[in-house]
């Protein structure tokens, strides 16, 4: 917040008391995503701590790649968990981003109920960052579990990141503090014809902590094995 604006607010608060303007949301701590462009897009410098962020978009739009890069970055700081319902986590891919695999717990639940129980228990136990990779099929029962889940995450300062292939349901959209939508705009090839990465268009569909509506385009490189 600029100094002049802060001074103006102070003057108004002195004059009008509780009727004076105040920030719409208290400042929220953020956990860096590991990608500077994405940090800038969120408006608060990373994933909000103690809240739910949603990565939405069709298959092949780069959201899982970004989530795995964020997990790799977070694993260097402390314990992390990946709820891998579709079974798509690639530890080798994580290791290319210098992830600490000994900090990573991979949970492979058979149902949404098991997944949500695991998230609740792990968040409460002190896992700092949990990515939840949901299957494409409709996740029945999730809407009833989400309020409890968010309560636990807020209590434990745990960052929740939800990855959803299909259009997210209303409940998820309602409870998420940050929704990023991804679209692949192009594949990026090297001169020799090998696939090098993908170019994505990202848009902030919803943001309770900073201004929504920001868009960005960048290239997500695939790691060279």
């Amino acid at each position: 917040m600029p100094d002049r604006l802060q001074q103006a607010i102070t003057v108004l608060q002195t004059r009008f008391g509780s009727a004076a303007p105040r920030p719409a949301a208290p400042p929220c701590p953020a956990r860096p995503t590991g990608i500077p462009e994405l940090d800038a897009l969120t408006g608060i410098g990373g994933w909000p701590v103690g809240r739910l962020s949603l990565l939405a978009g069709p298959r092949g739009s780069g959201k899982r790649t970004l989530a795995q890069r964020s997990i790799a970055a977070a694993s260097r700081e402390g314990p992390v968990a990946y709820i891998d319902m579709p079974g798509r986590l690639d530890p080798e891919f994580l290791s290319h981003f210098d992830a600490r695999l000994d900090h990573l717990l991979v949970v492979r639940p058979k149902s949404i109920k098991e997944a949500m129980a695991s998230v609740r228990v792990l968040a409460r136990a002190g896992v700092d960052f949990i990515a939840i990779d949901l299957p494409r099929a409709r996740s029945s029962g999730l809407d009833a579990e989400l309020p409890h889940l968010l309560h636990r995450a807020a209590e434990a300062d745990c960052t929740l990141l939800l990855i959803h292939d299909a259009d997210a349901e209303d409940a998820i959209r309602y409870y998420a503090s940050l929704i990023l939508s991804f679209q692949r705009s192009a594949w990026v090839f090297r001169r020799d014809g090998d696939l090098e990465g993908l170019q994505v268009d990202a848009a902030v569909v919803k943001n309770r902590l900073a201004a929504p509506g920001l868009t960005s385009r960048w290239i997500i490189p695939y790691p060279i094995p």
Binding site: S95, L105, V106, R108, L122
Partner: protein
């Protein structure tokens, strides 16, 4: 320094406590004279007449015709042994029972501040044992368990034997090799070579001894020099922590059940805290009206102490329990007790960054949903060209 406290066989002590008139008389335990059994132990008076342990009772009667024969009272023997250990446990927690039934070891190092005068300490130990089981023990003190045991075997109730570290070798030198734990072959071989005392054994060099008798026999050689590498494994007195609550009228709703379970968990936790203990398993017994009691066990990855932790462990199991009738009583018992200090302090975390709370959470999830729910991955990039062969998944 290690102190070896030696008393007569606990079965003998038990017999003397029950019939003090038997003291000073030849007493043989193991059965009645006409029974086909062997001698478990015998009093010094019976031994003086040639009775030894393992001898048949018939033969023992021929050696000591005026001896009193009695069967061993196992319960009383166990009580005497327990009493002996408890008495010494009041001096120090570093108490370990020896292999011989009447032998107990104590580590004296931590008692120096409280008992600067060792003679006073040994006298106090003697008095305490006399008060507990009416026997004056023989006490030996040395730097190792083996030497202290030899010292105690040659001490009397009035005069403990104390062997300083630098004199251990000389102390052992005069004793026959029989005091060493020799197998028959080694004993025979040593006797054939004319080695009958530990002093003669000490004269052989270690490499020569190893060449002649092999690597295994070096343990005996080290003992002959007074070097005993066995560790003193502390004995812990049996503790039972259990809380129970009768339910009148019988309870049939889960809210009330949880409320009572929480109160019991608090009581169990208070007992654990007061004794510095943690529990790795809580056993819940639910007595139902006119139906067999229901037993539930909640296990923990780490020894738990606080009421919150205990209740967190038992609550989901209580809610899942198939209770078919109103409950008349609920009992909580802390099992698998361990010292609470083995728990990880919050500031110290494992090298992999995982806190014990996370390990406990993972253990609980795996217990509930199966071991494959939470996994860890290891990548060995040089292992194979196929990804499935490079990535090793294993339960966390």
């Amino acid at each position: 320094m290690i102190c070896c406290v030696r008393t007569p066989h606990p079965s003998l002590v038990a017999a003397w406590l029950m019939a003090p008139a038997l003291r000073g008389r030849p007493l043989i335990l193991g059965g009645l004279a006409h029974e086909r059994a062997s001698v478990t132990t015998a009093s010094a008076e019976a031994r003086a007449q040639g009775v030894v342990e393992g001898m048949s009772l018939n033969q023992a009667q021929q050696f000591a015709p005026d001896a009193v024969f009695q069967p061993v009272d196992e319960e009383a023997t166990a009580r005497v042994r327990q009493s002996l250990l408890l008495t010494l446990h009041h001096f120090t927690p570093d108490v370990a029972p020896g292999e011989d039934p009447g032998c107990v070891f104590l580590r004296l190092d931590r008692l120096v501040l409280r008992w600067p005068d060792r003679a006073q300490l040994l006298a106090a130990i003697g008095r305490a044992i006399d008060a507990a089981i009416r026997v004056r023990p023989a006490i030996g003190v040395a730097s190792s368990m083996f030497v202290s045991k030899v010292a105690a075997a040659h001490a009397t109730a009035a005069a403990p034997v104390i062997v300083e570290k630098e004199k251990m070798r000389d102390f052992l030198a005069r004793y026959p090799i029989d005091v060493l734990p020799l197998d028959d072959d080694l004993r025979e071989y040593l006797e054939l070579l004319g080695i009958k005392t530990i002093g003669r054994l000490q004269a052989i060099s270690r490499p020569a001894f190893r060449r002649q008798f092999g690597q295994k026999a070096l343990v005996v050689y080290d003992l002959a020099l007074g070097d005993d590498r066995r560790r003193l494994r502390p004995w812990r007195p049996a503790v039972r922590i259990e809380e129970s609550e009768p339910l009148e009228p019988p309870v049939d709703n889960t809210q009330a059940l949880q409320f009572i379970a929480r109160a019991l968990a608090e009581r169990v936790s208070a007992s654990l805290l007061s004794q510095g203990l943690g529990t790795r398993a809580v056993r819940i017994t639910l007595n139902q009206e006119s139906v067999p009691a229901l037993m539930i066990e909640a296990r923990f990855a780490y020894p738990m102490t606080t009421a919150g932790e205990l209740f967190d462990g038992i609550r989901p199991r209580l809610l899942r329990a198939s209770i078919v009738a109103p409950l008349e009583r609920i009992t909580l018992r802390a099992a698998r007790l361990e010292a609470a200090y083995v728990r990880q302090p919050g500031l110290l975390i494992r090298r992999d960054g995982f806190k014990e709370s996370i390990a406990d959470a993972v253990a609980r999830l795996q217990e509930e949903y199966g071991p494959s729910l939470v996994q860890r991955a290891e990548v060995n990039s040089d292992a194979a060209p196929l990804a499935d062969h490079r990535i090793l998944w294993k339960p966390a």
